[in-house]
Symmetry: C2
Subunit: 306 residues, 2 copies
């Protein structure tokens, strides 16, 4: 089973209370690909970069199982660049620079070799492009997961609603769920959002974990309490990569397996935030991941006879 991942590949410059970086590799598709690569290959990337991109990083992704046939390289363009500065609490940040560059020309074309992929993960981009990709799939994937953000609700709610109606799993954060539904209670918010089309809703709550809603079922996963969150950039994308990676690896999209996928995604996100950018995602061992997942088991496990 293959995974198609559509999203940005970019440069980021990040400032946190612990330090700052020059331009390092970032973008949703990059984080997703690194994270998913620990579970399943191939990862069929659809993205766009400029001639200034770090092609050693691209090769590294390929060596980890990414297929970059669908990554358009605009030799005379510059890659998407984002710069941000995190506040002391790491839950809020200021965007310093957003240079869209080649992203303004992004017109994702699904390579023929990506057809029949069973898993499609649409990273946070213009909902028109997300729709466009769904429409290019000649066979509907077994599972479509879509990540997005409040920005698109603000400027193109109609298209936003059109695309989320076509997906299986929607991932947004708690404030976005409240904005989209107009409900403060996350249970009421989830009920309204599930009525908009997605069969599953994942509400990401940062250091407070994540909630998975499906029909009248709910699953709550904690985030791992960490001594330090060094850099939260990409944590949500890394979560999504682990989530879809586990589902693709097992081929099982039951609610019970989605719960496991959320734990794997959360474990991957807990690695991501330990270092700047994608650094911590490049050389994890299977044992490290297994140990981290067991930390989640210990963290949440209690025994009450039913």
């Amino acid at each position: 089973m293959s995974i198609v991942v559509v999203g940005t590949m970019a440069f980021d410059a990040i400032k946190t209370p612990f330090g700052q970086t020059d331009k390092i590799i970032g973008g949703a598709a990059t984080y997703i690909a690194y994270s998913a690569s620990y579970f399943h290959k191939p990862i069929n990337l659809v993205s766009i970069v400029g001639g200034d991109f770090d092609f050693a990083e691209m090769e590294n992704l390929k060596s980890r199982g990414a297929d970059t046939t669908g990554v358009e390289i605009k030799q005379d363009g510059k890659s998407f660049f984002w710069s941000g500065s995190y506040h002391m609490d790491m839950n809020s940040r200021d965007t310093l620079i957003t240079d869209l560059n080649v992203l303004t020309e992004f017109n994702p074309i699904l390579p023929e070799s990506y057809q029949n992929s069973e898993f499609l993960l649409l990273g946070n981009i213009d909902p028109n492009l997300q729709l466009n990709v769904i429409n290019q799939m000649s066979t509907r994937p077994k599972l479509i997961v879509l990540d997005t953000m409040n920005f698109w609700m603000d400027i193109m709610m109609d298209t936003f609603l059109e695309v989320i109606a076509k997906v299986d799993v929607l991932t947004i954060n708690d404030s976005e769920a409240r904005q989209l539904s107009g409900e403060y209670s996350l249970v009421k918010a989830a009920n309204k959002i599930l009525a908009m089309g997605p069969k599953y809703l994942i509400i990401k709550k940062g250091e407070n974990g994540a909630l998975l809603f499906h029909g009248n079922q709910v699953f709550s996963a904690p985030a791992l309490p960490l001594e330090d969150v060094f850099d939260p950039t990409g944590a949500g994308d890394t979560f999504a990569g682990g989530f879809i990676g586990h589902l693709a690896k097992t081929g099982d999209i039951s609610f019970d397996n989605m719960k496991r996928a959320i734990i794997y995604g959360s474990a991957m996100a807990s690695f991501c935030v330990e270092k700047f950018g994608t650094e911590r995602l490049k050389n994890l061992s299977e044992q490290e991941i297994a140990n981290r997942v067991q930390e989640f088991v210990k963290l949440t496990n209690f025994d009450i006879a039913s």
Copy 2:
């Protein structure tokens, strides 16, 4: 095994986005006693009220297993009165009125019949009074649990530190843990606070559940996602009551049993917020509580082979 509960008994007038109450019964000891009464009796109360108190409520508490020998009644005084108004998010509130009344004269005297109680729960009151009660116990209880708030850190940090050094379990909320430790990371905060004396630290996170820290062990419990939080008043006290009630019922103060106690406490708190004041805590059935606890099992349960 008996439980001694020291805390306020009061009148509250509460306004929420869903409605408002006249003066209804409240106070930490009241919520704790109602909640603990579903698990264990007797509950030896130490408190103070005025001649205006609702003595039918006092009789109701007695019928549920509360011993009120230690409740001083100042016939010519007025009971502590608090009035507050919750914001739409239910996580923040404005205090409208705080009339301490007889609470300014509170000098808790432990009745002889309460000696040798094995569980002591010190509700949120002046740390000097909490210390005073600990010193009156001729035999140190098996477990001392202390609940408190930022107010006491602000005005009497020395006494605050003196009393928390003497307890087994400290319960505070996340912002208080950050204030007390000077650390944003709750893991770092917990490590610093455990070094101040308590063997166990419970960090309450409202709708995001609670964390239990002990040595290098951590347990994360979610709050039950609810359609409506009708009135959060007393939820923390109700949590503490269920927590100590389960521990006293079982006599087991192991970390594993404290995890269960946190789930029972969380279940009781989830009932508390469904109606105004203590209303929902007055007529629960064993089956309702067991069903609610099973909702926590379903909410958190996932299965990954170790």
